[in-house]
Symmetry: C2
Subunit: 215 residues, 2 copies
DNA sequence: AGCTCCATCTAATCACTGTTTAGATGAGGA
DNA sequence: TCCTCATCTAAACAGTGATTAGATGGAGCT
């Protein structure tokens, strides 16, 4: 009846409007301040101003909703990582690999909930999202390429195998990010001290893979 | 009224019996074959043969139940890691650190669901369990000690800082375990190929921290 | 303009969930 | 024997994700 009577939302058009985007951005708001585990589709619907069943017209399930959120987030993560690499520039391949890791880590620590959604594969349907799989591949492929070049240029310690190195790099960065997100570092609450410690650890890790020629 | 009429359980005494242990073992059975996310207290109660409210007499919440399960699991994880270290023996401190990691990893890959429960701090109340905190400390303290000794014996590359190394080791092993548990290695389903790849990666990681003197 | 069509949304309902409460029950100690 | 008290049941509450039939109203055609 009334023209519009509530909601802190900027725009006032529902009943017919852009529900999909409204749902996505409201989901982001909720999970960022309440955590993913406290996201309820019904509460979400209420916040957006629609009936409890409305979201299911656009997303087959709660998992599908979160998968859509994850796709957006994964794009930003990939961008952050690859832009960090581009930012360092230079010829040193291992420094570029390190930069990817630093960019990845920084993003994960800055957006812990989103990182959780992306990486936990029980909240989303990762396999059926070609977008998510593609982004994942993109980072890994980039690392492969850089490491192969590093090997060819003798930057990499000769005894190291590339497949193993790629796995190690992924695990190392993922481990740091996950430990932080999973609450294994209760001593540092702000996203500042982690940045220092993880930065140093990652640098040392990468330097440990270099050929012993140079100092 | 019948004496006993159902249940695959070995013993038949409830109404008065050892409900606590029955609940714990049934929980383990369920989460191992269905996953933690599909554990329902009501289904658990039905399986054990009690009313839906009964479990709450012994565990304040579902979280408390899972915390109890996590305590048992954490004890086994710690044992596995420290026994692996004892098994290698020898003087080489870094090999012992590696053994801890290998034992930890092997246990995690063999018991993925339990590892998930232990490490995800949103399913359990880690902070309020002194048992969980103590076990966690035990492994870390052991690593600290070994690494300090390694440093004193010049086994460790001199430019490395111990705090940073401990963090790196934890993150590396945790990352490998978590990636496997989180489904980042869909190409290896059986717990065999991971064992090979992660073993090799961990070994290379540890060797990368050694002093460059020896070959 | 009117009208029809169809995506969109509502209302109601289903089968669940975790958790709380008052009260029944029955084993162990006096 | 009876009394006590931990243990368990029954019932209810408030919430969840998801499905369905039907209302609604804007877009596009005649």
């Amino acid at each position: 009846m009334g023209i519009d009577e509530s909601s802190t939302k900027p725009t006032r058009p529902y009943h017919h409007g852009n529900l999909v985007e409204a749902l996505l951005s409201a989901t982001v708001e909720i999970i960022e301040k309440q955590g993913v585990e406290r996201l309820s589709v019904r509460e979400l619907a209420k916040r957006v101003g629609v009936s409890p069943g409305a979201p299911f017209q656009h997303f087959a399930s709660k998992e599908a909703l979160l998968t859509a959120v994850a796709e957006q987030a994964m794009t930003r993560l990939t961008e952050a990582a690859l832009e960090a690499e581009a930012a360092v520039g230079g010829d040193d391949r291992l420094s570029r690999v390190e930069a990817i890791g630093q960019g990845y880590l920084k993003w994960a620590l800055t957006n812990p909930t989103h990182f959780e959604v992306i990486s936990s594969r029980k909240l989303i349907d990762f396999q059926s999202s070609s977008s998510l799989r593609a982004q994942n591949e993109a980072i890994r492929e980039r690392m492969y390429k850089l490491l192969r070049e590093a090997q060819a240029r003798k930057e990499l310690a000769p005894e190291l195998e590339i497949d193993s190195v790629v796995l190690s790099c992924r695990a190392f960065v993922y481990g740091l990010a996950r430990m932080a997100v999973d609450g294994h570092f209760p001593e540092w609450h702000p996203a500042e001290e982690p940045a220092i410690a993880t930065k140093r650890a990652l640098r040392a890790f990468i330097d440990g893979m270099r050929s012993k020629a140079e100092t």
